[in-house]
């Protein structure tokens, strides 16, 4: 290989591109967490009583829980009293009514991130909900979606405008008591996105939420709830970025998906939170609970994630396959470079008969990073004829990183079929030298090899984002071979 260590260092120097800070006045709660804070958040959002009760119940439960320690990640204890649980850019009373009322600085922020919100510049065919710190600042294409009967709005708006749907579905997939971070989220979540696709409707465009953390010392706790009614289908994508700061910031989201009979939900994530610097200073702690329930027969939920950011990722997008013949899929590319730590995977819980799940996980480790796949395939006695296929591949770049695979299986029905394939390869010398010998530069070779490795996952992403994901990957790994 021709690249000398110092060249490699220079290449790694490629900086996080979304690390700027928007200087904007915000309305924040002081750091600290008690019932008063929970009530204050609820009050700021003018929530109905049932929401406040729900939050308080979650908070009381959270206080009885201990932070989980089973994940293969290491970090200093988080001081939950040192975080601000609410931060929102100052806005006219009751929030902006239209884009014209949105602070130009906010619009400029999203413009800079490549997510223009203005009518004339909007991404064609993609409706965007833009969440800035604790609140949603704008949702595009609401009218067009409304005509199809699709509800796509911020979670706060949904609580106000569609309380029945919220009350009926909130916490039914991820109960407030599910785990430490889910309980915390349930108590203090401030915004997020809500999607309801009515029976028989194929959502006419891609839906997308763009999460941005801006304020310092603030946690972002968003909540996403997507419901696809009988025969409905929807494709949803979330993107995430944050400024570069030296202290760690907590992001503890909950995502719930519900697919009724014959419904399909495709949920894609391109996660690019600030990963910390090359010495492991700063970065986002991304502790997220994502779960979908195939509640109806013949329903399908498909998770695709490209995880390149965050100092620590702790996340297991899962499927509960309750409906007969329902299908769960999980396609993941997780990249960890420098001192990043990723512990990610999925759970496929087979309850219904003839349920099917597919897991394809691609882990890439570089630098001093730790990358763990943790997955559970559980086949309950009721799930006759259930089938799972799992494939976990790890790619190591350099000698100081590590990859771990923890596949758990519990099969309680003898008619089930479970297949597991795993591989670990070093990017290697051989592949790299082969490309170099053909005259291809080291950088191009690495990009080529890595994107080849990830190809099966990338092809699951919506077209518009596959390219973005590919670019993101090459930035994250630039020069990571040494």
């Amino acid at each position: 290989m021709s690249t000398k260590p110092q060249d490699v260092e220079a290449l790694v120097g490629q900086k996080y591109r979304h690390g700027f800070i928007t200087d904007i006045e915000s309305d924040s709660l002081p750091p600290g967490l008690d019932e008063g804070v929970v009530a204050a958040i609820s009050q700021k959002k003018n929530e109905p009583q049932f929401m406040l009760d729900w939050r308080l119940k979650a908070f009381r439960h959270w206080k009885t829980l201990r932070e989980p320690s089973w994940a293969h990640v290491h970090y200093k204890p988080i001081d939950y009293q040192d975080i601000s649980y609410y931060s929102a850019p100052r806005a006219p009373a009751n929030g902006p009514k239209s884009l014209d009322e949105v602070d130009p600085k906010l619009l400029a922020t999203y413009e800079k991130l490549g997510i223009p919100l203005h009518e004339r510049a909007r991404l064609a065919g993609v409706a965007v909900d833009a969440v800035f710190d604790s609140v949603s600042v704008a949702t595009t294409f609401k009218d067009k979606l409304g005509k199809a009967g699709v509800i796509f709005c911020s979670f706060s708006d949904a609580v106000r405008d569609h309380p029945r749907l919220i009350e009926r579905y909130l916490g039914t997939v991820v109960p407030a008591s599910d785990n430490f971070f889910a309980a915390l989220n349930s108590a203090v979540f401030s915004d997020g996105s809500f999607v309801y696709v009515p029976p028989g409707v194929r959502c006419p465009m891609e839906l997308s939420t763009y999460f941005r953390i801006n304020a310092a010392k603030t946690g972002q706790f968003e909540r996403t709830l997507i419901i696809a009614a009988e025969g409905a289908s929807v494709s949803y994508l979330e993107g995430c970025t944050a400024p570069m700061r030296d202290e760690n910031q907590l992001h503890a989201a909950v995502v719930e998906l519900v697919a009724l009979d014959n419904a399909q939900i495709k949920y894609s994530t391109v996660q690019n939170w600030y990963p910390g610097d090359e010495n492991g200073l700063g970065g986002i702690y991304n502790f997220v609970t994502k779960r979908g329930e195939c509640r109806g027969r013949n329903s399908k939920i498909s998770w695709t994630q490209v995880e390149t950011g965050s100092a620590i990722t702790w996340k297991y997008p899962s499927c509960v396959l309750r409906g007969e013949n329902s299908v769960g899929e999980f396609y993941s590319v997780a990249v960890a470079n420098n001192y990043q730590q990723a512990d990610t995977g999925t759970k496929m819980i087979h309850i219904g008969r003839n349920t099917k799940s597919t897991i394809v996980s691609k882990g890439i480790s570089a630098g001093h990073a730790e990358n763990t796949y943790r997955g559970l395939v559980k086949i309950l006695p009721s799930a006759a004829g259930a089938r799972n296929f799992t494939q976990c591949d790890s790619l190591l770049m350099g000698a100081k990183c590590a990859a771990h695979t923890f596949p758990y299986m519990e099969v309680k029905n003898p008619t089930a079929t479970v297949e597991h394939e795993a591989s670990t390869s070093k990017i290697g010398e051989d592949q790299l030298f082969y490309c170099l010998q053909r005259g291809i530069s080291a950088e191009d070779a690495v990009n080529m090899i890595v994107s080849g490795f990830c190809k099966v996952v990338f092809k699951e992403l919506p077209m518009e984002f596959a390219v973005e994901a590919q670019n993101l990957l090459s930035v994250s790994l630039e020069g990571a071979v040494g």
């Binding site: 290989m1 021709s2 690249t3 010398e429 051989d430 592949q431 030298f433 082969y434 490309c435 170099l436 010998q437 053909r438 005259g439 291809i440 530069s441 080291a442 191009d444 080529m448 090899i449 994107s451 080849g452 490795f453 990830c454 190809k455 099966v456």
Partner: protein, 251 residues
């Protein structure tokens, strides 16, 4: 002189494998390097191609007037040095044609020539594939992914034909081929022979040399070239094995 190797020594993982190689290859010539297992044939090929974990401890190599050993591997390739690998590696998910197009364009760019577009490239590669009697499926498959041993070797020769190197070093390109495949591969190599190019064949067997007739044959043993001759040397080796060469040297 196309390639001029003087007193080349190299080690791998602290072990000295090459111990003073001298070899000159003129444009227009085909040289065969033969020798018993572990004699350093593949090491020589890898060192010339610029593999990093092979450490050159002594000697010089001139390639087309340039000091080869100071060039990184990709620049050696762009300058016209091609290595046909003994064990071509699989690169899953990377399209075979995509890699080859990137390789050709890297070379053209370095030579100040315009890059070929996808359309031009496709017609070029179709023509070469036909020549190598390869099926269309090679267009869509990953680099060496799931290829049989013979397919991999054919693919190496295909790449060589597309890249048109000044010097092709083919490391046991004949091993694992049945007789029909051997003929196809040989036809491929012969088609590249001309007055401006050189070929170095590393091989165990005389069989290949019936089809690609060398101008010079060298026996490598213990990291040195212990005997050189014309093509009749290959026949003699076939008949008598290597021992007599090694013994006569000792004596």
């Amino acid at each position: 002189m196309l390639l001029e190797i003087s007193d080349l020594s190299a080690r791998v993982a602290g072990k000295e494998i090459l111990k003073g190689i001298n070899l000159n290859v003129n444009a227009g010539e085909v040289h065969a390097i033969m020798g018993p297992n572990g004699s350093g044939k593949s090491t020589l090929a890898q060192v010339l191609a610029g593999r990093e974990d092979y450490e050159v401890t002594r000697g010089t190599v001139k390639f087309d007037g340039q000091d080869l050993l100071t060039l990184p591997a990709e620049l050696r390739a762009r300058a016209g040095l091609f290595l046909g690998f003994q064990y071509p590696v699989e690169i899953p998910g990377v399209n075979n044609v995509y890699l080859l197009k990137a390789a050709l364009n890297a070379k053209r760019k370095a030579a100040g020539q315009p890059e070929v577009d996808a359309y031009e490239f496709l017609s070029l590669i179709r023509q070469k594939m036909k020549f190598m009697q390869m099926s269309e499926s090679f267009l869509t498959r990953g680099v060496n992914e799931g290829f049989s041993g013979g397919e991999k070797k054919r693919n190496e020769v295909l790449q060589m034909l597309v890249l048109e190197p000044k010097l092709a070093i083919l490391d046991e390109t004949d091993s694992g081929l049945d007789i029909d495949a051997l003929k196809v591969v040989s036809t491929g190599v012969n088609s590249l022979r001309d007055a401006s190019r050189g070929v170095v064949l590393v091989t165990h067997y005389q069989r290949l040399l019936d089809y690609v007739v060398p101008d010079h044959v060298h026996v490598l043993s213990g990291g040195r070239i212990v005997k050189s001759g014309d093509r009749s040397l290959a026949h003699e080796l076939e008949r008598r094995g290597y021992d007599w060469v090694l013994e006569s040297r000792v004596a």
